[in-house]
Amino acid sequence: MPASNDLRRRIVVTIAAFGAIAAAACLAAPLVGTTPIALSRVFDRSIPFADNVDAQVFFIARLPRVLAALLVGSSLAVAGVVFQAFLRNPLASPDTLGLSTGATLGAVVVITFHIDATMFGVSAVPVASFVGSSIALAIVYAMSVARRHGTSSTVLLLAGVALSAFFGALNRLVQVVGDFTDTFRAIRWMMGSLDVGSYTDVVVALVPMGAALAAIAALPRVLDLVSLGAAAAESRGVDVRRAERLALVSASVLTGSAVSLGGPIPFVGIIVPHIVRLIVGADHRLVLPASALFGGSFLIVCDVVARVAFGPAGMPVGAVTALLGGPFFLWLLFRRFR
């Protein structure tokens, strides 16, 4: 029977347990890979870095990749939790509002029209994909503002479907204009890749992600209330319109940053919140932090599998999450609609 110190205790235990899992994943993942490396050599200062293959594998090939997986997985999972609460639909995902498709369109435009500029050490593709997802967000936001009495979740869902279809069509249109090497490059991007190879991309993504996570950290109880419906939340004292805007914008920024960094990696935003809820229950004060930590761990593990389980060339991480996610999604549907 929950009492207040009970809930506080559960929150602490949850964060500690999932935090430990995330820490373990971060520490173990850079040690695993197709290339055998020796930790002693990695940290051997006597070998100049330029000659130290083991150190380069660890610090350039693997560690940034693990950090990127942590950030992207965490962001997608948290965005998933927020969208599922506000759309009152446990099958919603970060792409339900068309954000990933918008981000993909941004990337495809840059790739097709050979816009190869680099700003602050970040290449044009991630910037363009962030812009693309922001445009999708702006459209959804405008719809939310235009309705005087709060947005019904049905309207949002339908708008998302329409936006996804529209941006998807624009996507195909742009690809037809390009030549086949551009198309190939675009398709590769769409499979997702966490092989960032440098810390710049990670640090740049951290800024919007951090801001968005901070905003969402104030919302867990609101998410509980809103999941019963806008009217139910309103009558208990929640300013639903303000909360909706803050939550949707933050979750969209998270999604946009995650897709810019790693490409549109599917299913993380659906699978992770569900697994977390099976373990900790429905209270968002537990679900949010647990999803953030478990999302990062989950994607780190998927990336390790992508790196080592399919021969030296590996597989795109999006394929691994899809292989896991598809059957999982079907199982979820069975459970709910038996």
Binding site: I60, S123, G311, G314, P316
Partner: protein
């Protein structure tokens, strides 16, 4: 000669003549086969080309009817072709042409030896057997010469890259151990670091580059006049332990001949051999 044999011979000659006469209006939607047709002297019979066919300049000026993903069946049929050269995998287009009674030649994109084989069979199909065979013979001779020239040199471990996100080392697309790029590399006297990976193209992770430690990295670029490309090679400096980076053996080759497995393949392989074994080509 018996009467029957004579009749058969006349029949064959007529059919042969019919076949010869049949390919007078050719539509080729593949860059490789377009180049082949022009190189074997059948260029004047080509009435339309694909979206990406740019060589030779005469081909660039012809009307375009789409390519692998988006062939425009109406435009193709409106040109009244008597032969359409298409990809073997374009089943929809094939069905439509069969229904319209238009003959086609199905092209399959494979390794280096298949290029000359295709030249010969396409030449027979079109009716320019002699010049097609001459072209094929010439190419095979050139490739054999190259092979001989570099035979006694040490084969450096080479990575052949044909795609990459500019400014970064993300999404590196390299040639695997299968396909005409791999064959070109082997002919040019290089040891493919990805020779054991049985795929035509490999998306290389940073770790794989470090693990395979190529001695030479050759980047292929197709867009003409890509000025930024040379400066972009500096992206590889992020991996200083790779021998190619350390010894400044990251090289750039530009030109469409590297992506089109057609008659210019010998010239392309020669360029590749020249950068791998400069001492043999002074």
């Amino acid at each position: 000669m018996t009467r029957r044999a004579a009749l058969a011979a006349i029949l064959a000659a007529c059919l042969g003549a019919a076949a010869d006469a049949a390919a007078r209006r050719i539509v080729s939607i593949i860059p490789a086969t377009t180049e082949m047709l022009f190189a074997m002297g059948a260029g004047d019979r080509v009435v339309a080309v694909g979206s990406y066919d740019r060589f030779p300049p005469e081909a660039d000026a012809l009307p375009r009817v789409g390519a692998l993903l988006d062939p425009n069946i109406e435009r193709i049929l409106s040109l009244r072709p008597d032969l359409v050269v298409l990809y073997g995998t374009q089943t929809d287009l094939r069905t439509q042409l069969e229904r319209a009674g238009v003959p086609y030649y199905a092209y399959v994109h494979r390794g280096l030896p298949d290029i000359t084989q295709t030249i010969r069979s396409l030449g027979a199909r079109v009716g320019v057997v002699a010049s097609a065979n001459a072209l094929a013979d010439r190419l095979e001779r050139q490739l054999a010469d190259l092979r001989a020239r570099v035979a006694s040199s040490r084969r450096p471990k080479t990575l052949l890259v044909f795609g990459r996100e500019p400014g970064t080392l993300r999404n590196i697309e390299a040639s695997g151990g299968v396909g005409f790029l791999h064959d070109m590399l082997e002919t040019a006297g290089g040891d493919d670091v990805l020779g054991d990976v049985k795929q035509q193209s490999v998306t290389m992770s940073t770790e794989l580059v470090l693990a395979r430690a190529p001695e030479v990295i050759v980047e292929l670029r197709y867009t003409r006049g890509d000025a930024a490309a040379a400066a972009d090679l500096r992206a590889w400096d992020a991996l200083p332990s790779v021998p190619a980076v350390r010894n400044r053996n990251v090289l750039l080759l530009q030109g469409e001949e590297f992506v089109v497995p057609g008659p210019r393949v010998a010239a392309a392989t020669a360029k590749l051999a020249a950068v791998l074994h400069p001492e043999r080509f002074r």
